[in-house]
Amino acid sequence: MPKTIHIDPVTRIEGHAKITIHLDDKGRVNDARFHVTQFRGFEKMVEGRPFTEMPSVMARICGICPVSHLIASSKACDRILAVQIPTTAILLRRVLNLAQLVQSHALNFFHLSAPDLLLGMDAPVDERNVFGVMQKHPELAKKGIWLRKFGQEIIEWLGGKRIHPAWVVPGGVNAPLASDKRDAILKRIPEAIQITRDALDLYKRILDDFPEETRTFANFPSLFMGLVNDKNELEHYSGTFRFIDAAGHIVADRVSPRDYARYIAESVEPDSYLKSPYYKPMGYENGMYRVGPLARLNIVDRCGTPLADEEWAEFRSLGRGAVLSSFHYHFARLIEILFGIEMIERLLNEPDILSKDVRAVARVNNHEGIGVSEAPRGTLIHHYKVDEHGLMTWANLIIATGHNNLAMNRGVLQVAKHFVDGKNIQEGMLNRVEAVVRAFDPCLSCSTHAVGQMPLRVELYGAEGELLDRKERAS
């Protein structure tokens, strides 16, 4: 009988997952798997519904990054209308998308990962959470709350509510921006930048406390993928795909999002509701790639805003080619927050930003549409087909977190092999296995949805099936 450790559920991530770690006779880690245990079925359940409903329905895939789904979905719908949407609508969608990037990244750093980074991977289970951070580091916790709120309020001021705004629609957005709202956002920019720079300083200070984690947290060669703009800078709204390899060399460039299916294929894993996309020309496994903040900063030639570019240069010096340690997702996330704030300021100062022309109206003119955006966690692809009445006949969604599935699995194994000693299981070892998943910031109700709420009970069985050791994480 094999000896298996179950981490169930994985906590401080979005969605439901568990991890199994398989040990050999000597208590060494043989294998480890990341299982996503919930399935939601959006691709099927939208069949027969009007495509105009899609942005609002698809946003309900995820309450953390609803704006990404709104945007990718609306862009697919723009194609179905076959319209070119007004410039101001593009500017406003961009602001909304970046506001979400800021709030979602702040959530990961301050609310979900700070307990590991500031209180320590081995901190007591009952304290190792955002409320523990509020007790031990109240000032920092408040800054984190402020920064997340900065993003959420922009979404509310533009879209009418913080979560699931109905403002982004096929053809544009349904209301222009009021000038007092623009001014209110602009007024907050300096404080937002200050908080982010402080967080970056903090990250660089604590990095020395995590040498082994930096070395082993999904630190291996892989491809990286994301959107870049026509100047090869950071891009979250439009642009084309670029794939690079671990040495930093370009593998594919200027790939139109419409050709995604030629480059990306999806494999089913028998033990997870999350599929594993891979780079088709290289096949499953070899075609493993990563997306999200780390990937985006690896593929670009620069960010495109001054403060973010300074940090980016420092980030890139961490690797000879691409930066390979997934621990630096945290670093990359903070740099993207900085970029997001600088870019929001730039966009809000565009002369057309307050224009009232924000929506193009048309009927169904195309029976197929593909919409792509960079969500906080990576590239998001919505692909729809409709009949002549605009009713959905087919949908395919490739969700940011899915792209990282192969890398997350390999990362879980790498961390388990390095830290987990089957003869002497410590809670902190298992927390590190979860922390590598947190570094990727997965969003699993997006990718599927999970179940499985057993207590974390680690049981160690001998070759004859006898119980050797047992630990429960419950207090």
């Binding site: 169930d8 559920p9 906590t11 991530i13 979005e14 969605g15 568990k18 996503v36 245990t37 919930q38 399935f39 939601r40 079925g41 691709e43 099927k44 359940m45 069949e47 309900r60 895939i61 995820c62 309450g63 953390i64 609803p66 959530l107 609310h111 307990p115 289970v125 009952d126 959470n129 409320f131 509020m134 007790q135 109240p138 916790a141 408040k142 709350i145 402020w146 997340r148 709120k149 913080r162 979560i163 999806e266 494999s267 089913v268 894993e269 028998p270 033990d271 997870s272 509701y273 599929k275 088709k280 109700s445 949805h449 179940v451 499985g452 709420q453 057993m454 207590p455 974390l456 994480r473």
Partner: protein, 177 residues
Amino acid sequence: MTKLRLATTWLDGCSGCHMSFLDMDELLVDLAGQIEVVYGPLVDRKDVPEEIDIALVEGAVSSEHDLELVRKLRANSRILVSLGDCAVTSNVPAMRNHFPVKQVLECGYQQNADRNQSIPSDVIPALLPQTRPIHEYIPVDVFIPGCPPCAKAIHFALAALLKGETPDVHELTRFGA
């Protein structure tokens, strides 16, 4: 003063109701003085504790594990709150009820996959034939509709519960809000 023990969970939902909970922003810090979050996705404890004062449940019941969990939470909680439209009516997740589970799975893992086209079934739990609201399985004490309920409604409800009162949130939120 002993703190009230709060548990939260998400079943078949989008985590938006939890995000709305976090949208209480600075009020969270004050709340943390009166409440201890003893279980849920924001904290690390893995099992459902024995004594819970208030349980906030987001999402509909979609799988056998959802059902097992919500029953356990009910058994261990003094007050159980159905938080958000998915929990209250099963909302968007119930859209899958128009199709047999098998078809929904085939669409995701056979039609829309390129390699190893098969329905995953190792280690992971099975889906129930229908996604249903939680009160169809267990008694619920407080309903807070909204998709998601705004932070103000959640705060109002928690403040009332802390005072031992039953909150009436109908002026602050409604179905579909």
